[in-house]
Structures are given as C-alpha cells and as structure tokens.
Amino acid sequence: GESVGLHLPTLSVQEGDNSIINCAYSNSASDYFIWYKQESGKGPQFIIDIRSNMDKRQGQRVTVLLNKTVKHLSLQIAATQPGDSAVYFCAEFPGANSKLTFGKGITLSVRP
C-alpha cells in the first residue's frame, strides 16, 4: 500500500484556533471528494463531502474547499477543540460502481 512504512504527518494547533488540513488528489475525473475522521482505536467516520461542481461546502464548524485547478482539497475546522484530535483522511470517488480511494492521512493534535 502507498502508506506502508511511512508515518503520518502531524499538524499541531492550539485549542480555539482554526485548523486547515490539506490534501492533494490525483484523479481529476472524480465526482465526489470526502473527508473522514479517525479517532484513536476506532474506524474512520464520514465528516463531509463536496461534489466536483462545487468549490466550497460548509458543515457544522467544518468547511471543505475544492480547487480543481491544482487538484487540492482542504478541510477547515473552526475553533478547534480537543475532541477534534484525530487522523483525517481525504478520499475521492469517481462515481457509481467505482471504488472510494483514500489519501495518506494527517494527524491533527490539539494543544490545550
């Protein structure tokens, strides 16, 4: 696998600050882009998605931005809390009957 042997990069932020987690994707034909959150000892959990015809989508305290020109996806978390500490994975989905493909993942560490 692409992540075997490589430890995940870490982003450290102060509690209350905003966090920005970035991801580069590879398939320009993907129809949806998704963010997942994995807390320690658990499986990943869906956070938010964005369709390829959009450039921004907001959820509760989270915003996803899509820049198709440079194949870049980001997740912004407002007022980061200790409970946001986790590994975050971006994923891309080409379309129906296709396989979801995960990126390498980034560890978010929130300092009290």
Partner: protein, 114 residues
C-alpha cells in the same frame, strides 16, 4: 440500527498459521471493503466487493490473502501461512448504492502474529 461488526476483535496467532476474519456489513449495503492499517499509518486498500460484480482484488498484497462475500452479505478475509508483517488492524467497511462514498467502518480486528 446495527452498524458494521467484525470478529474477532483481537486475534493472536503463531507465524505460519491460517486466520479468518469476519465482517458483517450493514443490512442492505451492496458495497463492502477490506482495509489494513498498521500502527500510526494510513489505510491500505485490500479488496472491494460491489453487488454481484467480480471483486476488485487489486490491493491484496500476496496470494496468501483471499476474501469471500457470501450471499451479498457476510465477508471473510483469510490469511494463509501468516507472517509477522501481517500484524495490523484489519478494517471492514460497507456502503449503500445511494451513499456509495459514505462508508461505515467496523471497529476492526487487531491481528498479532508472533
């Protein structure tokens, strides 16, 4: 409702033994994925089942790994002649047709090969 379940939650086996890991997806979900995750690392795709289509086995690391999905529901991942490098958490996920990219993950099986 019930989520994805996996069994066993932990498995310790001796090098060279075969192991079977089970996944019960959410009822009605047509897609089922197996991933492997080593400590502190990302998700390694293993195999993908979609309905009655032939599975995508492109992520299986060797011919010691195989998986079945019976009746479009329960799946079993089998690792033959286990090696120490097979030690990892094995995660199963399922998704529906309508929400194909929203995967629901099980808690995983932690496999330790001694």
């Amino acid at each position: 409702g019930a989520g994805v379940s996996q069994s066993p939650s932990n498995k310790v086996t001796e090098k060279g033994k075969d192991v079977e890991l089970r996944c019960d997806p959410i009822s009605g979900h047509t897609a089922l994925y197996w991933y492997r995750q080593s400590l502190g690392q990302g998700l390694e795709f293993l195999i993908y089942f979609q309905g009655n289509s032939a599975p995508d086995k492109s992520g299986l690391p060797s011919d010691r790994f195989s998986a079945e999905r019976t009746g479009g529901s329960v799946s079993t991942l089998t690792i033959q002649r286990t090696q120490q490098e097979d030690s990892a958490v094995y995660l199963c996920a399922s998704s529906s047709n309508r929400g194909a990219y929203e995967q629901y993950f099980g808690p995983g099986t932690r496999l330790t090969v001694t």
